[in-house]
Point group: C2
Chain length 204, copies 2
């Protein structure tokens, strides 16, 4: 080591990542840990070791294990939202198209999430962190749907409760498809019907 050339700054062989890049690397390693060894294996020291960084780096990013789990869930939500937004933007402007895109992208996202997210949610169950993040995500999803469906909502309007019912249907249908109670196609078809029926009621 002492024979290495000295510069004004300590020479680092490792690439220095930006804070954002580091976060995304840590989340990637955390996801892999959960996938390969289960949620119980995911601790902050273990993550530091696996990611090849000093422990304080990990603590600085997540503070607690719940903070890390919450960040994993938020990251999943953000990717799901981006996928649904992109699908909505690329779709034709009719009600059938919008309802169909919401239904298929929601079900597909849940089916694609693998075993990681259910494990993360189970580990966070009952924590105030999860309640807050989940509620924010639900309200955000409802707003996105309201915006996409706004051109088709009739004079009777759609109450917020209508969107909660739709969200509940989306969630339960996707989970029933994930556990094999019904097929993915049945889940998507039923969710599509639910959305169209909600809009039709507002026009009667």
């Amino acid at each position: 080591m002492s024979s290495m050339p000295k510069k004004g700054q300590a020479t680092e062989k490792r690439v220095r990542l930006s804070r954002e890049q580091r976060l995304s690397q840590l989340l990637e390693v955390a996801r892999r840990l959960v996938r390969d060894e289960g949620t119980d294996a995911l601790t902050l020291p273990r993550l530091a070791e696996q990611a090849g960084v000093a422990k304080p780096v990990v603590y600085d990013h997540f503070r607690t294990r719940n903070g890390l789990l919450t960040a994993l869930y938020q990251d999943f939500d953000a990717r799901q939202t981006a996928l649904i937004d992109a699908a909505l933007e690329g779709s034709a402007p009719g009600l059938e198209e919008k309802a169909s895109v919401i239904a298929s992208s929601y079900v597909e996202c849940v089916l694609a999430q693998g075993r990681e997210i259910p494990g993360v949610l189970a580990a966070l169950a009952g924590s105030p962190e999860l309640e807050t993040v989940k509620r924010d995500y639900q309200l955000d999803f409802i707003e996105r749907c309201r915006t996409a469906l706004a051109p088709f909502i009739g004079p009777r309007g759609v109450m917020q409760a209508g969107f909660w019912a739709m969200l509940g249907a989306a969630d339960t249908l996707s989970n029933a498809a994930a556990t094999g109670e019904i097929t993915a196609q049945q889940a998507q078809d039923e969710l599509y019907q639910t959305i169209v029926a909600m809009i039709e009621r507002s026009n009667r």
Copy 2:
């Protein structure tokens, strides 16, 4: 003690409960423990102490802490089912009446469950015991609804997916009412609409 009269059998001051009565006493004490001190305070030794029974009695009934938590959840489900059954039986025979009874009794049951059941569910989250019991309860609820609504289902029929969507709406609407996002009345109204719309679609 030695001056007490001896009989052929040891004289017991405690009333001997049947197995069923004992179970119901233990569940009652467990519920109170969870309500007063939270789910973390509920362990098998603690339950034995609070119920004034020997530890083996408690272990014999529940085997593990998860077994006890699962029993609490099942007990809640059974009471909820009994309430909905009674309400359905006492209602007039029309579609509007049946849909209205299902909607109002589901939302009321969730609102009445207090803080105990969410805590129990959080403690069981991700366990295979919970998955099985929950799925059984959901399928049972779907069957009850299918039976109550059977006279009104039209020639197009209602797929199983339709009932999953209804169940998801019921769950999410009730929870949104419990957290104050919407009112209980809005949750009931929306669930009523969801049920009636599902039946109407089968008649088109």
